[in-house]
């Protein structure tokens, strides 16, 4: 009987100690983990669409609550500001829209003064290889550079891909959706 109690007590104590120390480590590493996830997953896309900044856009990121999803959980828009001399002159954020097969996620950079796109890069897609998947090619994405963000973009304004009309429209729709987001949250992005 004493043996059993000793076993119970020792195992319980060890497991509790383990639980507490893991909770502690988890708390300490939560911030750096979030940072390095964004740094290695998002930074290449952010670098592709923004240039001439002096800050670390990943470190200065802003989370803007933009409503709730179907389950009632808050959805946050992560905005990466590009700063020069401490002032935000451009922002990068993600947008998405339906392509030919699933959603196309794009990262776009917007110059806040001239309200023009500084760049666009595709961060996720499941389009058809060889056809719709050509949306990742620089030939296509570069044609968004310098397009105005204050009036609706049409397929004719950019270097549309022949044979991939639906995918092209998907990317354009994502940009137009981003325009609405920008109009709505512009003040919060400049903070």
């Amino acid at each position: 009987m004493r043996d059993i109690i000793k076993m119970l007590v020792v195992l319980t104590v060890i497991c509790t100690a383990s639980g507490f120390s893991l909770a502690l480590v988890h708390d300490v590493t939560r911030e750096p983990i979030e940072y390095s996830r964004l740094k290695f997953v998002k930074e290449p896309a952010v670098k592709a669409v923004l240039s001439g900044y002096q800050n670390d856009p990943i470190k200065d990121r802003l989370s803007i609550p933009v409503g709730t999803d179907k389950k009632g959980k808050p959805v946050k828009l992560i905005v990466f500001p590009a700063k020069k001399d401490g002032k935000t002159f451009a922002v990068a954020f993600e947008s998405s829209s339906a392509g030919y097969h699933g959603d196309v996620g794009v990262m776009l950079g917007v110059d806040l003064n001239s309200k023009k796109l500084t760049g666009l890069s595709i961060v996720s897609h499941t389009e058809t290889p060889g056809l719709g998947a050509r949306i990742i090619e620089p030939n296509f994405t570069d044609s968004f550079k310098g397009k105005p963000m204050d009036k609706e973009l049409g397929v004719g304004d950019i270097n549309a891909l022949s044979g991939a009309t639906v995918s092209t429209k998907g990317v354009v729709a994502a940009v137009n959706k981003a325009q609405a987001t920008l109009d709505k949250y512009r003040d919060k992005m400049v903070q």
Binding site: V10, S18, V25, P32
Partner: protein, 205 residues
């Protein structure tokens, strides 16, 4: 046995993957480059040293009937710590090693050392033992990784070393190449150790 002896035995006598042929899952899976092998080895060493220390400190408190359960809890806790730390401060390595970091929990070298050594010896000797076995494991993985990387992708530590038209033998960085490389290393190690044994026997007679 002295502390130095406890340390050095891990480097040759009980060198985990080549002499004991233990811990082969990570040995085969992550040694596609020297860097990956080294990272895996260092993560394992950290877990091994920490779990050896804790097991040897608690060896008189843990009842022998539940010792394996207690060891596994201790080892698993350190593995999760390594995993979180690696995600926070060495993300590219974490991405490269992937599932094999959590799988350190079931690495038989660690449970083996806890059961065979740390559960019976004092903390200082246990740390020396853990360090020796861990460093032996790290060197083995790094050397195996460097060998496969050199032949399979023509690079050393990520730097290209061959002439431009060199066509890398990509078979070596794929899964079957791991078995071939391990076999070659085992053969070489066996040859060396049998030569050493011969010499020792001749010296005695």
């Amino acid at each position: 046995m002295s502390i130095t002896r406890e340390f050095t035995k891990g480097l040759w006598e009980i060198l985990p993957p080549f002499r004991l042929v233990l811990g082969l899952c990570p040995t085969l899976a992550v040694t596609t480059s020297a860097e990956n092998g080294m990272g895996m080895g260092l993560a394992t060493t950290f877990v091994l040293v920490c779990s050896n220390l804790l097991v040897s400190l608690l060896r008189k408190i843990i009842p022998s009937k539940v010792r394996i359960a207690a060891y596994v809890v201790i080892i698993a806790s350190f593995v999760v710590i390594v995993e979180l730390m690696m995600q926070a401060y060495a993300f590219p390595l974490y991405q490269a090693l992937g599932i094999f970091i959590p799988l350190i929990v079931v690495n038989c070298i660690i449970l083996g050392r806890a059961e065979a050594f740390a559960g019976k010896n004092g903390p200082v000797a246990s740390i020396a033992d853990g360090l020796g076995v861990g460093i032996g494991f790290t060197i083995s993985l790094a050397v195996l990784g460097a060998f496969r990387e050199l032949i399979g992708s023509g690079t050393v530590w990520g730097n290209s070393v061959f002439w431009e038209s060199f066509e890398p033998f990509t078979f070596m960085v794929r899964a079957p190449g791991a078995f071939v490389a391990l076999g070659l290393f085992l053969a070489a190690i066996n040859l060396i150790s049998s030569k050493l044994d011969d010499r020792k026997r001749r010296a005695q007679s």
